[in-house]
């Protein structure tokens, strides 16, 4: 799990998401496909600058681009949404650590770490 988080693609994902405009683009195109020119109208920057942001997101596999007529349409990558399940697993581990430390603070014996049942919805 830890090793996965440190893979080169994850580095690219985090670098891509370190910018507020790019986060905003990802959020928008995750909800609905949008053309590069329509995105460009949303921000106070040049078309070329927005195009560059989209390219960074594309390299991180967060969005995909397709051509329709004269338009370049940007869509959020569903695969990266699926990563949510993995991320919730990671968040769960953080909290399991905290719960263990609370238990220790309350003077409870440490439990052996085993795989616990979980219900994913």
């Amino acid at each position: 799990m830890v090793v996965e988080m440190l893979s080169p693609n994850v580095d690219r994902v985090f670098a891509a998401l370190s910018d507020a405009t790019r986060r905003d683009i990802v959020e928008r195109v995750m909800h609905a496909e949008e053309s590069v020119s329509s995105l460009a109208r949303r921000y106070s920057m040049s078309f070329a600058a927005v195009q560059k942001h989209v390219a960074v997101l594309e390299r991180a596999s967060l969005v995909t681009k397709r051509t329709s007529g004269r338009e370049r349409l940007v869509t959020g990558n569903v695969e990266s949404v699926r990563a949510a399940a993995q991320l919730l697993d990671d968040y769960e581990q953080i909290w399991r650590g905290r719960i263990d430390r609370i238990a220790a603070l309350l003077g409870e014996p440490a439990e052996p770490s085993t795989t616990h049942p979980s219900n994913d919805s």
Partner: protein, 160 residues
């Protein structure tokens, strides 16, 4: 078993975790209400938390920092949305700049904690929710990085 149930909702981006402790309700409340006790569990052993301000009233804020193995400090803040002593509280947790001011470009987590008396102890239900997948990605990656240094420290301890 301390943690008895975990429910993850990948659409709502929430984690619901239920744990049981063999301690009375008022005692479990203290691990949230007392910053000196919070410091003993909020951060992993290699990134212990230090709470600076702790205004434990509805609308009040807390500031804290976590200190890494190299002395690096990661600053955070809480805002208490509601406090219903000793049954529960709701708060927002976010990152802060080095001067302790909240950094709105960083992810925030909403947390709701409820405590219930049960036979022989207390049941704690924790719900953590994220505004967006991006927030969750960034936050868990930071947590994982901390977990990694912690694991490395434990291996070191084992070998020495």
């Amino acid at each position: 078993m301390t943690v008895i149930n975990v429910v993850k909702d990948t659409e709502a981006l929430t984690l619901t975790l239920t744990a049981e402790f063999a301690a009375p309700l008022d005692r479990v409340w203290q691990v949230w209400a007392d910053p000196r006790q919070l410091e003993q569990w909020w951060g992993p052993p290699t990134w212990p938390a230090t709470f600076v301000d702790f205004d434990f009233v509805p609308g009040g804020r807390a500031t804290y920092f976590m200190t890494g193995p190299d002395g690096d400090k990661s600053h955070g803040w809480w805002q208490f949305m509601s406090i219903d002593e000793p049954r529960g509280l709701e708060l927002a947790d976010g990152f802060a700049s080095d001067s302790g001011e909240s950094d709105d470009t960083m992810p925030k987590t909403q947390m709701a904690v409820s405590l219930d008396e049960m036979d022989g102890g207390t049941r704690m239900t924790f719900v953590g929710s994220f505004d967006s997948l991006e927030d969750m990605e960034r936050l868990t990656a930071m947590g994982m990085a901390e977990g990694l240094t912690e694991a490395a420290g434990q291996i070191d301890a084992l070998l020495t």
